[in-house]
């Protein structure tokens, strides 16, 4: 595409700091960030209960599980794939943990490890079929969405596991250094994922695969290995999220996390990751995640009914992508 000079650039003195700032603000993430700030400002006018440290931290606690799953989902969507089975893996790993401990008498520590092992295995299965057999990701994970949820139902026979010892709730319900414990995990995981995606050969490979898979393969990127890695990673994170969620709400049921995959995908897509692959970022995903939750919470505190909130979030999802599309196109396309 021919690069046309923007008129504003001609009139402005070419100050490197100004143009750098422009680039940041006009980036997908920058615009999304501005939308978030504007939303927070409006919400804080609606109610004074919204913009308090306590409320905000508590809201972030609630999105930790979705956030953890949104990290690998960002990688996956950038490669042009998708993982619809995360909600089911989430439910299955938590159920396995609960019943290994409650019915089979395993030590809880071991059951927690198994929770993540099961998640990882489930993700590995997805990845294996996708790279080895060549099943399209959407179809593979659609099938395992049903399969993993079905296994969770089968194992639990619709019973729930509960009555965990007190220390089990440390992660989900308590604080560490003044911040909800699980938020530390999300924070660290997001920073690592962000660096890996933006600054390592692996991350560059992910983008390359999303732009042109064949080209990526020819330039020596181990496409299959990378894919296997990200779907396995997705399963692991879903398992971890299942553990954290169980610790937060004190019980586990087989239908836990039904439909969660759509919340995860919404956060990633709202964060500016193109569903067609090739572009996106962890920063964007995190902003998308927080924006959705703050809207939900702020509107609720402001007296908007829960169902109207869903409507507004749906509209915001479409609008945010629309605004971004328009801005990116005016700024010369991406």
């Amino acid at each position: 595409m021919a690069v046309t000079e923007r008129p504003s650039q001609l009139t402005e003195p070419s100050n490197p700091i100004v143009s750098r700032l422009r680039a940041v603000v006009l980036s997908k993430e920058g615009i999304l960030f501005l939308i978030m700030i504007a939303a927070m400002f409006i919400l804080s006018l609606l109610t004074d209960k919204f913009l308090t440290t306590n409320n905000l931290l508590n809201q972030l606690r609630l999105v930790t599980e979705i956030g953890l799953m949104a990290l690998p989902m960002t990688f996956i969507i950038i490669t042009g794939g998708i993982d619809l089975s995360v909600g089911s893996i989430f439910g299955l790993s938590a159920i396995v943990m609960g019943f290994l401990w409650q019915d089979s008498g395993w030590p809880l520590e071991l059951a927690i490890i198994m929770c993540m092992v099961v998640g990882t295995m489930a993700g590995f299965m997805n990845g294996l079929f996708i790279v080895r057999v060549g099943v399209p990701p959407l179809i593979m994970t659609l099938a395992t969405l049903a399969l993993y949820r079905g296994m969770a139902l089968g194992v639990s026979e619709a019973r729930s596991a509960r009555g965990f010892p007190d220390w089990f709730f440390d992660l989900g319900q308590r604080q560490f250094l003044g911040i909800p414990s699980q938020l530390w995990i999300l924070l660290i995981a997001a920073i690592i994922a962000g660096i890996v995606l933006a600054r390592t050969p692996f991350g560059r490979g992910i983008y390359a695969m999303g732009n042109n898979e064949l080209g990526a393969r020819f330039s020596g990127i181990p496409v299959r290995l990378y894919k296997l890695a990200i779907y396995t990673f997705s399963g692991f994170m879903a398992g971890l999220a299942g553990y954290i969620f169980t610790s937060r709400i004190s019980t586990t049921r087989a239908d836990m996390g039904t439909g969660l995959e759509l919340d995860v995908i919404a956060a990633v897509v709202l964060g500016g990751t193109s569903i067609n692959g090739g572009s996106g970022s962890i920063v964007g995903t995190m902003i998308g995640l927080v924006l959705i939750q703050l809207l939900k919470n702020g509107l609720l505190l402001g007296g908007v009914k829960g169902d109207a909130t869903i409507v507004i979030i749906g509209a915001i999802l479409i609008l945010a992508i629309l605004i971004n599309n328009l801005v990116q196109r005016r700024a010369g396309g991406d």
């Binding site: 079929f129 057999v133 060549g134 099943v135 399209p136 959407l138 179809i139 593979m140 659609l142 099938a143 395992t144 969405l145 049903a146 399969l147 993993y148 949820r149 079905g150 296994m151 139902l153 089968g154 639990s156 026979e157 619709a158 039904t258 439909g259 759509l262 995908i265 919404a266 897509v269 193109s274 569903i275 067609n276 009914k305 169902d307 109207a308 909130t309 869903i310 409507v311 507004i312 979030i313 749906g314 509209a315 915001i316 999802l317 479409i318 992508i321 629309l322 599309n325």
Partner: protein, 335 residues
């Protein structure tokens, strides 16, 4: 496998086997074969599975899903997806049900309005996808939220009772089969003919297969996409009337997970998620097969708790068989 062994194997096969192979080589053939196998196995294990009432139940319960899967097939073939169909069915069924209990309202109006509102919703989705170029998964994800929230907001999720007997289209029978089954059959055939033989139908495949090439050959992808989403809205409208009139009461909420059932039917029916290939006949066969599997498992005493796991496995197996079949076909073409 090398090309020579394949052709050698082909030469040595008798004619009737070759014909049989031709017949089952399509996804439709494979699905019919699976269905026949299922009927034989389950029917032998428990003859009550073959009772006319049960077969009729399976077909009836497939109908509204199959009709929606026709629209979904067109959407997927065009290279898009629509996650909002479950929410649309909820909204349209509620509208239809509410209209039917308005005193003095002719019954046909409550059947007709969903067929108008459905394409209107489809037109909004289509416009956002085709003209504003927002990915369909995002638009329909947003649309799902809007419809789902809006429905509960407007109705409070109440149950609708006391629909007039004349309204209950799906509970009526004709020549021993429930009326929705005829809708399923006729719409499948009409849609299959439209998509296969008319220029506007072929254009859907062209846009889904290669947008650039479609554009260069004089097809406007925008117009085609608008048409596809409105067609999908119409099918969902019909599906919602069949859904609403099948039961003695309607809850004004979105039936959960319905969109996945519909997408699964289209995909198992051989519609490629990458766009450009697949048929609605496959989608309808797949809907019936999936429904028959769920029903059949009850007859061979599979624990209800494991039902969904078995179903998931079978979906996976169907997809794998299809994939291997395609790979072999590709190898034959190369050889």
């Amino acid at each position: 496998m090398t090309a020579t062994t394949v052709s050698a194997a082909r030469q040595s096969t008798p004619g009737w086997l070759k014909n049989l192979r031709m017949l089952v080589s399509g996804q439709e053939g494979a699905l019919t074969l699976s269905l026949a196998l299922l009927v034989i196995v389950v029917g032998t294990a428990n003859p009550r599975f073959l009772a006319q009432q049960n077969i009729s139940d399976i077909l009836l319960n497939s109908s509204y899903i199959a009709v929606a899967a026709i629209g979904m097939s067109a959407v997927i073939i065009s290279g898009n997806i629509d996650i909002s169909v479950g929410a649309m069915i909820g909204v349209l069924a509620t509208i239809s049900g509410q209209l039917s209990i308005v005193p003095g309202m002719p019954v046909w109006i409550s059947w007709l309005v969903p067929l108008i509102v459905g394409p209107m919703i489809g037109a909004v989705t289509g416009f956002l996808v085709a003209y504003l170029r927002i990915p369909a998964i995002v638009v329909s994800l947003g649309m799902m939220s809007i419809l789902k929230g809006g429905l509960i907001l407007a109705t409070g999720g109440v149950w609708i009772y006391n629909m007039p007997p004349a309204y209950k289209l799906a509970q009526q029978s004709f020549l021993g089969l429930p009326v929705p089954v005829y809708f399923m059959l006729v719409l499948t055939i009409l849609a299959a003919l439209w998509m296969r033989y008319s220029p506007s139908g072929r254009a859907i495949y062209a846009v889904g297969g290669n947008k650039e090439a479609a554009l260069l050959s004089g097809i406007s992808p925008r117009v085609v996409l608008m048409r596809v989403f409105m067609f999908n809205g119409l099918m969902v409208g019909i599906s919602s009337v069949l859904f609403a009139t099948q039961f003695s009461s309607i809850q004004s909420t979105v039936p959960s997970g319905l969109e996945l059932t519909i997408i699964t039917s289209a995909v198992v029916g051989g519609v490629s998620i990458l766009g450009g290939t697949g048929t609605v006949i496959g989608a309808t066969l797949a809907t019936i097969l999936l429904r028959a599997i769920g029903n059949g498992m009850i007859f061979i005493n599979v624990s209800a708790y494991w039902l969904q796991a078995v179903q998931g496995t079978l979906i996976l197996v169907t997809v794998l068989i299809d994939l291997l079949r395609r790979r072999r076909q590709a190898a034959q073409i190369r050889g």
